[in-house]
């Protein structure tokens, strides 16, 4: 195997390819699947309206990837009963992984009972599928990060995701020290996904080096161009 191919695969193997922009259309989704297959991306994240389309396309083209979809994205401020119904629908459509955004305001209000409830709902409704719980790490202090990670671990969530990466929410992006703090609290218990824009392959390598399990990004084509 050529060294270039190894480089692609090493980088792409930890990428969740996010296709959640409001401008994403059917062609973009299909292209993402072809890119994923060619370069070894294992997971594509789409908005709920595209789950069925992507599953069908992958079946027809015999593409083996995991289809992830979003719940309560990008606002998060929904009660657990609605989040459950969203997950139920995604499972029916064939989603393999669930990315769910925390009700951030409720957590900041210390409404831990409702946060615990939504975490349990996420795990229960996902019926064994991979669960990725999105927090907004840039808003949380050290003790809040500790608490949310402990709660997620107790609920059986598979990954913490650092941010919804939706710039229009005007939420502070998680810093490198936020990521490192989360890594201290999740290593050995859960995975950590950093949801961000990627500007270079060096950025991917650095995140991988510090221990981030996966990187969720829309910037796959940019990374590939960088690698070429």
């Amino acid at each position: 195997m050529s060294s270039t191919k190894i480089a692609y695969q090493e980088i792409m193997s930890i990428i969740d390819y996010a296709c959640v922009s409001f401008k994403t259309n059917e062609t973009d989704i299909e292209l993402a699947a072809l890119v994923a297959e060619k370069y070894g991306v294992k997971t594509i994240l789409v908005n709920p309206i595209y789950v069925s389309l992507l599953k069908k396309f992958c079946r027809e083209k015999d593409i083996d990837i995991s289809v992830a979809s979003t719940v309560a994205y990008p606002i998060g401020a929904y009660p657990p009963e609605i989040k459950r119904k969203e997950i139920d629908e995604l499972i029916r459509k064939g989603a393999d992984e669930i990315y769910m955004l925390m009700a951030v305001g409720l957590f900041l209000d210390r409404n831990y009972l409702q946060i615990e409830e939504e975490m349990n709902v996420m795990v229960d409704a996902s019926k064994g599928r991979t669960t990725k719980y999105i927090i907004e790490a840039g808003l949380l202090d050290e003790s809040q990060k500790e608490r949310i990670c402990n709660m997620a671990f107790k609920a059986g969530i598979d990954y913490i995701v650092t941010s919804a990466n939706f710039a229009r929410n005007k939420i502070q992006e998680p810093s490198l020290s936020d990521i490192e703090a989360l890594l201290r609290k999740t290593t050995g218990k859960m995975g950590l996904v950093h949801f961000c824009d990627i500007r270079s392959k060096e950025q991917v390598e650095e995140l991988k080096k510090i221990g981030v399990s996966r990187i969720c990004t829309e910037s796959v084509l940019k990374i590939l161009a960088n690698l070429a």
Partner: protein, 258 residues
């Protein structure tokens, strides 16, 4: 009479008839605005402060907008004295129709008076206007009799043709209220409102939203026949309106005595 308004009128030494008329006009002006507490990170404390602001103002605004997790408490805090408005499928609109129905069902259950639903913009970009029409029709059929529904187009990112074709689809689906832009950095412009009014006349109740911060902007929309606006600067704008009216009257009286 609002204390702040009273003080200003007294300071200018203006007549009682003017002050009564102004009070009526200000309340009418205020009643056009949606205002509220919205955002991923908003807490009950933010809600409490927002509700306090509305109550202290003494105005009955068009509606108090808030997130689904805060709406029930907002309704209780406001004691039923303000309409509650919950935005649905914000801000991307790329949720399934089933999800939008689930959200509206919950909103209706907790007593929301109105809602605005962001339409699936990927349909617009793919020119699938029949799907837009079907979406509007279904939502309207299920909930149009229970709540006032406005359908949201992020018009600042659409071409003129896309705006027109989307509005036509909304109309065909039975929609009568169109909100132009959802905020979140997407702000409306008078040109977008003018376009819809020019093509569709009074067919739609158009609600501009986003980036509305001054009285001048509001006056421009009023000239276009708008009667409902969304603005997080509503109270500042109302203050500007009061100040303008008082200063105009004071100048008029000075002119008359000279």
């Amino acid at each position: 009479m609002l204390k702040s308004m009273e003080k200003k009128i007294y300071a200018e030494g203006l007549e009682k008839e003017f002050s009564n008329n102004l009070e009526r006009d200000v309340y009418n002006f205020a009643s056009m605005f949606h205002w509220g507490v919205l955002g991923i990170e908003k807490t009950y404390e933010d809600l409490r402060r927002g509700v306090e602001k509305v109550i202290e103002s003494g105005f009955k605004i068009q509606a108090f907008n808030t997130e689904m997790t805060l709406a029930k408490v907002a309704k209780q805090m406001l004691g039923g004295k303000q309409r509650i408005h919950i935005p649905i499928s914000y801000p991307l609109g790329n949720m399934t129709i089933k999800k939008k129905l689930i959200d509206l069902e919950y909103a209706a259950r907790i007593g929301s008076d109105e809602s605005c639903i962001v339409l699936n913009h990927s349909y617009i970009f793919s020119k699938k206007y029949r799907e837009i029409e079907k979406e509007v029709q279904l939502l309207n059929d299920e909930f149009g009799n229970i709540m006032d529904l406005a359908f949201v187009l992020n018009s600042s990112i659409l071409s003129d043709n896309e705006i027109i074709d989307s509005c036509m689809a909304i109309g065909n689906g039975g929609g009568v209220r169109i909100k132009l832009n959802c905020g979140y950095g997407w702000g409306v412009s008078p040109e977008e409102v003018r376009l819809v009014k020019r093509i569709f006349g009074s067919q739609f109740d158009v609600h501009p939203s986003g980036n509305i911060r001054t009285l001048e902007q509001v006056e421009e929309y009023l000239k276009l026949g708008v009667i409902v606006l969304h603005s997080l600067s509503a109270f500042d704008i109302i203050d500007q309106y009061i100040n303008k009216r008082i200063s105009e009257k004071a100048n008029e009286e000075i002119g008359a005595t000279q």
